[in-house]
């Protein structure tokens, strides 16, 4: 009875350890769906349609970027008489009003400058100001919501509108690429991350359920906007995710068009990334709570309640929890059964190694031009320590020989305490990497942080940094912290291929 209880406990711990691999396995599953996009796509119901499209740009202190963005919009391969740009200036204090006024003169009747005298309430309020004007007359048939820094490739809009030939489609989104050049280590990490994010959207196309329209490129039909009440949700930090969910709950489809390409400038520092991702992650907490009756409850009319979509959503949303539970269980198992812990550790990390190889190799092959710019960051995504563990679990004899050689050369012979400490460090690392990543953020503003913080990110991994952001979002939401709209600073450092 006692032995059975202990054995059952050990198996329970092994299952908890394996939770650490669940998000990676789910991500691989999503990548496998990408391969299915060849069969399951929306191209057979597309047609060359050019609805009268209003482009809505919320702008607060965007003088550095807004002029170039408008120029690019005005040179889109799209009928000029079917395109209008509405710039909603959210009480900017820089040169944005002057730039907007100049563009109004340069493109008479095509660029409309709207100004809010009292701003700072957030993006959704700014969008609603423009929406009220645009929906006020019958001209607009489709609405493209974008950001002031986003640059559209010439053919991107018409590649999006071709999906509106299908009356079931309510919204379309595009492939957002990071465009900072030469950029730095952070923008390259983001550039690689965006390949994986767009791969996920391809997978969601196959699944028939989309988690989020890219905030910088969301095209809506007029009917869809009216069904949403003619306004964007202002009660959360993830207005684009709410819009995406509500569109699908209203029975309309959301489509990702991977061949419509737009470029955006993303944060070049940990602090900038932290602000942006904390906002997104808090928004995801709010979405998870708001739609709590939706998850894992399949319904007719949409696939948001499907088990697969729920697994994808919660694997991302709960990834820090999976990592903490897995590490804690592995350390506990070490004290209960050394051999059992060692076996569980190997299974966990061989699974992680296989998913890492599949996702990284496939992601780099999905978008070779971006991969050429970001492949180092793609390979270093899990961090040096995790990669070391992956290498060890894949080729243990090689590491054993290397370790013996190194110890012999340094005349150091690790005793039992050293080995125990090393093993426990490795077991606890997935959880410990998150506070370590947080330290990189704390160190960044200091003098030594300029050198130290990127080093720490490479050691702990960009993935752990994102998980730390997600964990911070739980804390903020549990505390009921103020919903502050921390805008990502744009400097106009993008170089877009022509």
């Amino acid at each position: 009875m006692g032995h059975g209880f202990v054995l059952g406990g050990q198996w329970f711990l092994i299952v908890l350890v394996m939770l650490g691999a669940v998000p990676e396995v789910a991500a691989s599953w999503q990548f496998l769906l990408v391969a299915g996009h060849f069969w399951r796509n929306d191209y057979d119901v597309c047609a060359p349609v050019f609805p009268r499209t209003a482009v809505l740009i919320p702008a607060w202190n965007e003088a550095a970027v807004i002029g170039a963005s408008i120029d690019r919009l005005m040179s889109l391969e799209y009928p000029r008489d079917a395109l209008r740009v509405y710039l909603v200036d959210d009480a900017s204090t820089d040169e944005t009003p002057q730039v907007a006024a100049a563009k109004e003169v340069q493109y008479p009747g095509s660029v409309i400058h709207l100004r809010r005298e009292k701003g700072g309430q957030g993006k959704a309020h700014t969008l609603n100001h423009g929406l009220a004007v645009i929906l006020g007359d019958e001209w607009m048939e489709a609405l493209l919501i974008t950001d002031a820094d986003v640059i559209f490739q010439a053919d991107s809009l018409r590649k999006m509108t071709r999906h509106l030939a299908d009356p079931r489609v309510g919204a379309v989104t595009a492939y957002i690429k990071e465009g900072s050049r030469p950029g730095n280590y952070m923008t390259r990490f983001i550039g690689y991350e965006y390949i994986t994010a767009q791969a996920a959207r391809r997978g969601q196309n196959v699944l028939g359920a989309t988690a989020c329209l890219a905030g910088g490129a969301q095209l809506h039909t007029r009917a869809n906007l009216l069904a949403l009440g003619g306004r964007i949700d202002t009660t959360s930090l993830a207005e684009d995710t709410f819009t995406t969910f509500q569109t699908q709950l209203n029975g309309r489809r959301v489509v990702f068009e991977p061949h419509a390409i737009v470029w955006a400038e993303e944060p070049g520092s940990i602090i900038g990334l932290w602000k942006q991702r904390l906002r997104w992650a808090r928004g995801n907490v709010q979405v998870t709570k708001r739609y709590r009756k939706l998850w894992f409850r399949p319904r007719r009319g949409h696939r948001l309640g499907s088990v697969t979509f729920g697994v994808f959503w919660f694997c991302l949303f709960l990834q820090p929890i999976f990592m903490i539970v897995s590490s804690f269980s592995l350390v506990t198992l070490y004290f209960a059964s050394y051999a059992g812990a060692w076996r569980a550790f190997h299974i966990l990390w061989i699974t992680n190694a296989a998913t890492y190889f599949f996702i990284t190799a496939f992601a780099l092959l999905i978008d070779p031009p971006i991969a050429r710019h970001t492949w180092r960051q793609g390979m270093m995504f899990p961090g040096v320590v995790n990669l070391g563990i992956v290498m060890y679990t894949c080729v243990p004899p090689l590491f054993r020989d290397l370790a013996h050689g190194a110890f012999a050369a340094s005349h150091f012979s690790p005793d039992h305490a050293w080995l125990t400490g090393g093993i426990l460090f490795i077991y606890a690392w997935p959880a410990a990497s998150m506070p370590a990543a947080y330290l990189a953020k704390v160190a960044e503003p200091h003098r030594f942080g300029r050198f130290l913080s990127p080093l720490v990110v490479y050691i702990v991994g960009y993935g752990s940094l994102l998980c730390a952001c997600t964990f911070a979002s739980y804390v903020k939401e549990l505390r009921g912290a103020e919903m502050k709209w921390d805008k990502t600073e744009k400097t106009g450092k993008m170089v877009v291929p022509t």
């Binding site: 996009h37 391969e77 010439a154 053919d155």
Partner: protein, 65 residues
């Protein structure tokens, strides 16, 4: 450069727009064909990556376990 690869002499965007309007069906068909071909390529790339992964797992099991 427009989809037809024929930017106007003056480089003005309207030239490209007119080209798209004049024969949207041709441009559209070609773009759809290209898109589907790209997606087929992704399927093949996924198969290649999976095959390499399978070989690595077999090698690891046989020689490095």
């Amino acid at each position: 450069m427009g989809q037809d690869g024929e930017d106007g002499e003056d480089g003005g965007p309207d030239v490209t727009i007119e080209a798209v309007k004049a024969r949207p069906e041709v441009v559209f068909r070609q773009e759809i064909t290209d898109a589907v071909r790209y997606e087929k390529g992704l399927f093949i790339k996924a198969l290649v990556v999976l095959a390499v992964l399978a070989i690595m797992l077999v090698l690891r099991t046989l020689y490095f376990a």
